[in-house]
Symmetry: C2
Subunit: 222 residues, 2 copies
């Protein structure tokens, strides 16, 4: 397989694309950037919908196939490029890491997706304050449970599971980024904040951050 | 490991618990039922929140640990009890099956969860018609994309991936059940309907259906 031939369709601010960028960077995998501007509606073009009928990012083109859904893509990368591992070896520990990842990927992020806040605005005619409160509500519920799990588990280390970043961390960091965008107060989640800070010092997380992407507007790039 | 010692906290109508019941039945695994009545708020008791801080079902107690998140539980069962397999062997095919499962588990189901329609009712003060339309909207978007993927892929067989049921099917069937409950017209999705019909003839899917659970009200049991 020619790694450089992998193409990642993403958007600098998409939490789901951000997860895959972190996984790629942690594993040292090269890919071509294919930015899809979700604000301008690039996801609705016939060309992109041929690639991904869901009209969502990320989509990874590799080995002549298009892979969709960030966690399916990360599991694929883990199977094909096992080192460094993003999941522990023991089934019970893998289940814990996947549960942390899914608590974000299923129960927080999809509720705050752009298409959902758009639907709240039209047809439901809710204003920006209500939309922001909606986003904060679901992140708060999810983060409270995750914080409790992280503080009560002996498996929590410098990162969500031990001292190396993995699948849970690559979901957590984009969700914290998202929480800051909707101005959620993060003081009630000191363990989440500590892990986020540790991750942001890591070169792979730095390379994957939204502000470092070629499609980030110049005023956000630093 | 003592299989009979596995305990599954669920609710007959929860799509996520339904997924795990199908996986258990497909693999022939015994477990003790621990019904949590979501309508009565059993998930908010301190006892249950000690088990699962997210206050969601399912939760599987096994090997002295509590596993949460349906897809993490199913992946665990697949790793510990590999036969019959719920995922294909090849990484690209595994990615396809996981993407189908996640298109339901992330992008349809969480938007229609009880806690979300509750929030639409209070504080957002939306009536039942709006809540039903909301649920239909997200299922319609998701099913349209899944139908397109199923009809265009050579991997689709009697089930979502080949001729044996797996991870995608055990997400699809509960979502179809849910779609019927919100009165969504399913004619636009003939492949989904065909696979749902094939699954409902399968003994594992029959054993796992909501109406067959001990906590289903007598008037629904058949």
């Amino acid at each position: 397989m020619n790694q450089a031939a992998m193409k990642l369709y993403g958007y600098f601010r998409s939490s789901a694309a951000y997860r895959v960028r972190i996984a790629m960077a942690l594993k040292g995998l090269a890919y071509g950037d294919r930015p899809i501007n979700l604000r301008l509606g690039d996801q609705w073009t016939p060309e992109f919908r041929d690639l991904n009928p869901q009209a969502l990012v990320p989509a990874l083109v590799t080995e002549g196939q298009t892979l969709t859904q960030s966690l399916a893509i990360v599991e694929y990368l883990e199977e094909v490029h096992p080192e460094p591992a993003l999941l522990p070896k023991a089934p019970l520990e893998r289940a814990r890491v996947r549960a942390l990842a899914l608590a974000i990927a299923c129960d927080i992020h999809p509720l705050n997706n752009l298409r959902v806040t758009h639907y709240l605005a039209d047809p439901l005619d809710q204003d920006e304050v209500v939309c922001q409160r909606w986003s904060q509500h679901w992140i708060r519920l999810g983060f409270a449970a995750i914080e409790q799990e992280l503080t009560s588990s002996p498996w929590t280390g410098r990162f969500c599971h031990g001292d190396h970043p993995g699948l849970a961390d690559l979901c957590l960091v984009p969700q914290v980024y998202n929480a800051r965008r909707v101005a959620l107060a993060l003081e009630p989640y000191p363990t989440i904040l500590r892990i986020d800070a540790a991750a942001r010092e890591h070169p792979a997380f730095r390379a994957a951050r939204p502000e470092a992407q070629p499609d980030a507007p110049p005023e956000l790039r630093n």
